[in-house]
């Protein structure tokens, strides 16, 4: 039990400070990581490579972005009317 707990503490992490977005307004931080995840996935799968490196972006946007935004954007991506360039 304590081993499990210590493992959890060590791996416990959230989206770190991003120097590109140092201020209060983190909207772009969330959106940028969402874009980067999709662009990374698209680029790597186009070359038939493993998309594991893209998981970082997903981890960050999942930590930062409200679920409703993510759901809305996912829907738009699926429907082909997402405003960002992927």
């Amino acid at each position: 039990m304590s081993n499990n707990f210590e493992d959890k503490i060590r791996s416990y992490s959230t989206a770190p400070f991003d120097a590109r977005f140092p201020n209060t307004n983190q909207t772009r931080n969330c959106f940028q990581n969402y874009l980067d995840f999709h662009r990374c996935s698209k680029a790597l799968s186009a070359k038939n490579q493993d998309t594991a490196p893209c998981e970082w972006f997903q981890k960050v946007y999942k930590s930062l972005c409200p679920n409703s935004w993510v759901t809305k954007w996912d829907e738009q991506v699926d429907n082909g009317n997402f405003a960002g360039r992927i």
Partner: protein, 230 residues
Amino acid sequence: MAHPSQLGFQDAASPVMEELLHFHDHALMIVFLISTLVLYIIVAMVSTKLTNMYILDSQEIEIIWTVLPAIILILIALPSLRILYLMDEINNPHLSVKAIGHQWYWSYEYTDYQEIAFDSYMIPTQDLAPGQFRLLEVDHRMVVPTEAPVRVLVTAEDVLHSWAVPALGVKMDAVPGRLNQTAFIASRPGVFYGQCSEICGANHSFMPIVVEAVPLMYFQDWSTLMLEDA
């Protein structure tokens, strides 16, 4: 929480709030001293039978009452700026929580690991248990670990709201379409209350915020429980 006929701030539960409290004490003491001096001078001027018609100017006192206020202002400005920059320091948070304002409740999302998301409604007055606080209690509190830097991302789904917890020294506007970041460290375990701080419609006064700070072990237990309940 706030007490009836309270005069000062609530007890600080975060290092930043402690600093703000001490600064306020410092600035208020200066204000009291100056006010006392001015009041004394007014009373002295008004209550004397002496008259003086011959003093036209005086270089010395003019210098004193120009330089001394400048020094006092610097003595206020320096701690103020220190705290301002302290609040802006880069901190690497251990946990990110999203606080989303709705009409008329808050919802909290903890998505660093797995999905924990829940709504937090005020407990209506008729449903309060004995000892609970009217207009302040909620059904699901926002639980955080003590001594850990927590990042709160505040936004709103409909109209403007504002997420405020005075004991933690935190207030951040919730703007639809915008993600505002604030951070705090809960120095001690406890339950800290706040209220929505931006007018948002009929039940603006009835969507409180409750942050419960517990040691990390209990936070782990709580998050496991919340995942099972989901």
